[in-house]
C-alpha cells in the first residue's frame, strides 16, 4: 500500500462564470520515501490537485468526487477539525510557491514557526523556540538565533523559502508537498533549495510531491513524474523513462520546448495556442485543440490511461490498439500508474 493514493479526484470551482473543472479525474500514488513530480502548464490544475489532498480547497471550490487515502485513511471523509489536528502540519505539510506572501508579514519568522510547533506538538513555547532555531539552522539559515526574531520582509527570497521549508519540517511530516517552491527564485538560489529538498528526503526519509511547470527541476528531485493537462493526468512515468520516451503528444511538446535540460524557462508555452478554459474544456481529449496529432476521433472519445511501457501510462488514442470505448475501471488506472 502506498503512503498516498489519489483516485479519480475531481475538484470543481463554482463561479458565476461557470463551473471550473480545475481537477477532473486525477489519480496518482506516492510511496513512502518516494518523490513524485507533477508537471504541467499553469492552469493545468496541479496546485488544486495537491491542495485537494490536504483539504485546502475553499469556497467556491469543492472536491466533488474521488478519494484521497493517506496511510490508509480516507482524507476526504475527515472533518475540518480532524484534518487540522491529525493531518495538516504533522503528517502532511506544504511549501508554497511564493514564500514572501505565504508567510504572514506582520509576525516574525520565529513566532510563525513556533506557532506551528506549539499547535501540532505538545512542546512548550520555550521548547518550541529552541526547536525553531534548530530548524532554521537545519535549512541553512545563518545566525538562526538572531534571525528568528526578524520579519519575513527582512529575509531574502531564498531565505524566505528556506524558512518556509523549516516550517514544513517542523513536525516531521511523512509527506511534504512542494508547490512550485522555486519558481519565484533566481537560478542560483533555486539550486540551493532543490539540494535542500534532496537532503531532506534523504535524511528524513520523507515523501515529496513536487509540483512544477519545469521539467528541468523535476529531474533534480523526482523519482517519478505525472504530467497534467487541463485538469487531467495525461502521462505518468519514472523520470528517466519519461524523458527518453515521452508518449503523449503533450509531453513531447513539453520536452521539445526545453532547450537544454538545465535551462529554466519562466513560463513554458511550448505549443501553439493557449490552454482552453477549464470552464468549457474541449470534448473528448482535452489536448486535441492544440495537438499536432489530433484526429476526428479525438473530439468524441475521452482517452483513458493506457499502459505504454514499464510503469508508464499515457492517455492518448494513439496508443489504443483496440480503440474501444470501454470504460477503464478505476482499478486499472490505479494499477497502470502504480507500477
Amino acid at each position: 500500500m502506498s503512503l498516498l493514493e489519489v483516485e479519480n479526484l475531481r475538484t470543481y470551482f463554482f463561479t458565476p462564470a461557470g463551473i471550473v473543472q480545475a481537477v477532473d479525474g486525477v489519480s496518482f500514488e506516492v510511496d513512502a520515501g518516494e518523490s513524485l513530480g507533477i508537471v504541467g502548464e499553469s492552469g493545468a490544475g496541479k496546485s488544486v490537485a495537491v491542495k485537494s489532498i490536504m483539504g485546502l480547497i475553499r469556497d467556491p471550490g469543492r472536491i466533488v468526487e474521488g478519494s484521497v487515502r493517506f496511510d490508509g485513511r480516507e482524507l476526504t471523509e475527515l472533518s475540518e477539525a480532524e484534518l487540522r489536528r491529525e493531518i495538516r502540519g504533522n503528517e502532511i505539510s506544504i511549501v508554497f510557491q511564493d514564500a514572501m506572501s505565504a508567510l504572514n508579514p506582520v509576525f516574525t519568522v520565529g513566532s510563525q514557526l513556533e506557532e506551528v510547533i506549539v499547535e501540532n506538538t505538545d512542546r512548550s513555547p520555550s521548547a518550541a523556540r529552541e526547536r525553531a532555531i534548530e530548524l532554521l539552522d537545519d535549512v541553512g539559515i545563518p545566525n538562526p538565533d538572531r534571525r528568528i526574531d526578524e520579519y519575513p520582509h527582512q529575509y531574502s527570497g531564498g531565505m524566505q523559502q528556506r524558512a518556509m521549508i523549516a516550517m514544513a519540517l517542523a513536525c516531521d511530516p511523512r509527506l511534504i508537498i512542494a508547490d512550485e517552491p522555486t519558481t519565484a527564485l533566481d537560478v542560483t538560489i533555486q539550486a540551493g533549495i532543490l539540494e535542500l529538498f534532496d537532503e531532506i528526503q534523504e535524511t528524513h526519509d520523507t515523501s515529496i510531491v513536487y509540483v512544477t511547470h519545469d521539467l528541468g527541476v523535476v529531474r533534480e528531485v523526482c523519482d517519478r513524474v505525472s504530467v497534467m493537462y487541463l485538469g487531467r493526468v495525461v502521462e505518468s512515468a519514472p523520470y528517466e523513462e519519461l524523458y527518453r520516451y515521452p508518449k503523449h503528444p503533450y509531453t513531447q511538446s513539453l520536452l521539445n520546448s526545453v532547450v537544454t535540460p538545465d535551462e529554466i524557462l519562466d513560463e513554458i508555452n511550448p505549443i501553439g495556442g493557449t490552454m482552453p478554459s477549464a470552464v468549457s474544456p474541449p470534448s473528448g481529449c482535452r489536448f486535441r485543440t492544440r495537438c499536432p496529432e489530433a484526429v476526428e476521433e479525438c473530439v468524441h472519445v475521452t482517452p483513458r490511461a493506457r499502459q505504454v511501457g514499464d510503469s508508464h501510462t499515457a492517455a492518448c488514442l494513439l496508443y489504443d490498439e483496440s480503440n474501444s470505448h470501454e470504460e477503464p475501471t478505476l482499478r486499472e488506472i490505479t494499477n497502470q500508474t502504480n507500477d
Binding site: 469556497d59 487540522r84 495538516r88 506572501s101 505565504a102 504572514n104 508579514p105 506551528v116 518556509m164
Partner: protein, 316 residues
C-alpha cells in the same frame, strides 16, 4: 528612537498644512457677509458706538494687517478674543472641550468593538445568512442621517417611553452614572454611522486578508480557523482599519455640531455653530483650527500606529 524622530518629523510636516488652514479659515471668516458689529448691536447702532467697537476690535484695519496680527498672536497661543462673549477664545474653547472629546471618545469606544466584532463575524460567515444580515445592517447604518436618528430617538425614548433624558450633559468624571444615562443617545447617534462604516471596512479587509496566501499557509499547518481569523488575518486587516479610524475623527467632529445642537451638549460643535451665526470670527476660526489640528494629530497617530502594526514600514 526611530519612532520618536519619526513622530517629530511627522508633526513638523503638519506645520505648513496648519498654516494653510489658518489662512483659509481666516479668509473665509472675514468673507462672511454683514458687519459683525452691526449684527451685534442690532438694528440701529449709533454710528459713534459702532465706530468705536470696530476700532477696538481692529475690524477697520486692512485684512492683511489683521491676518499678520492674528498669526503673531496665534504663535503665542492666543486665539484672540470673542466679540460676543468678551472673553479669550482659548477660555471659551477650553470650557467646552471636554464634552466634545468625551462624546467622540465614547462613540469610538462603542463603535470599535461592535464594528470589529460584526465585521469579523461577517467575514467569517462570508456569503452566508449572517453575513448578509450584518452587511445589510451596515448599509442601513451608513444610510441613516444622524440628525434624523437623533430626533427619532428623542421622540421614542424620551417622549414616548420616557426612558432617557432628552438633553443635558454631565461629566463622566464627576457623575459616571448620570453621565451614562445622558450620553446614551448622543453617543449612539454619532456611533451608528461610525460603527456601520468601520464594520464594512473590517468585513471587507478581513475578507480580503482571508484570501491571502499566508492564510492558506496557516491552514495548511493546522492552525485553528479561529486563530487564523483573530490573529493572522485580523492583525493584517487592522492596517486599513487604523487609517479609517484616524480619518473618521473628521466625520465625528462634523457630527458633533449636529449632536450637540440637538442634545444640548455644551461642546465645541455648538460653540462653532453659534459663532458662525453670530459672526464671532475669532471663535469660529479657533474652533475650526482646533478641529483640524485634532484631525491632523489623529492622522499622525494613525501613521505611528501603522508603523507599529506593520513591521514592513520603517520610520524614515
Amino acid at each position: 528612537m526611530g519612532l520618536l524622530r519619526y513622530t517629530i518629523r511627522r508633526l513638523l510636516q503638519l506645520i505648513p498644512v496648519l498654516f494653510g488652514i489658518v489662512t483659509l479659515t481666516f479668509v473665509m471668516m472675514h468673507a462672511l457677509p454683514g458687519d459683525p458689529v452691526r449684527l451685534w448691536l442690532g438694528t440701529e447702532p449709533g454710528q459713534e458706538l459702532a465706530d468705536e467697537l470696530i476700532e477696538a476690535h481692529g475690524f477697520d484695519r486692512p485684512m492683511h494687517e489683521q491676518y499678520v496680527d492674528y498669526l503673531v498672536r496665534l504663535a503665542q497661543g492666543d486665539l484672540g478674543h470673542s466679540f460676543v462673549y468678551n472673553r479669550p477664545v482659548v477660555d471659551l474653547m477650553w470650557e467646552r472641550m471636554e464634552p466634545t472629546l468625551v462624546v467622540m471618545g465614547l462613540s469610538y469606544l462603542v463603535a470599535l468593538p461592535v464594528a470589529l466584532g460584526l465585521g469579523i463575524y461577517g467575514a467569517a460567515r462570508h456569503n452566508r445568512a449572517g453575513d448578509h444580515v450584518s452587511r445589510f445592517a451596515g448599509l442601513a447604518g451608513i444610510s441613516t442621517p444622524n440628525f434624523w436618528l437623533a430626533l427619532m430617538m428623542i421622540y421614542m425614548f424620551s417622549y414616548n417611553f420616557g426612558l432617557l433624558p432628552a438633553t443635558g450633559y454631565t461629566s463622566p468624571f464627576v457623575d459616571p452614572v448620570e453621565a451614562a444615562v445622558l450620553l446614551i443617545m448622543p453617543v449612539l447617534t454619532l456611533a451608528t454611522a461610525q460603527t456601520a462604516l468601520l464594520m464594512r471596512m473590517t468585513r471587507s479587509s478581513m475578507i480580503e486578508e482571508m484570501r491571502e496566501d499566508y492564510v492558506e499557509t496557516a491552514r495548511a499547518y493546522g492552525i485553528p480557523e479561529r486563530k487564523i481569523l483573530l490573529r493572522h488575518s485580523f492583525r493584517n486587516a487592522l492596517l486599513p482599519l487604523v487609517t479609517i479610524v484616524g480619518l473618521q475623527v473628521s466625520t465625528l467632529l462634523g457630527g458633533s455640531v449636529i449632536v450637540e445642537e440637538i442634545f444640548a451638549i455644551p461642546g465645541l460643535g455648538r460653540l462653532f455653530f453659534d459663532s458662525v451665526i453670530e459672526q464671532d470670527y475669532s471663535v469660529a476660526v479657533g474652533v475650526t483650527l482646533f478641529f483640524s489640528t485634532l484631525f491632523l494629530i489623529g492622522v499622525v497617530l494613525t501613521d505611528i500606529a501603522y508603523a507599529y502594526i506593520d513591521p514592513r514600514i520603517k520610520y524614515d
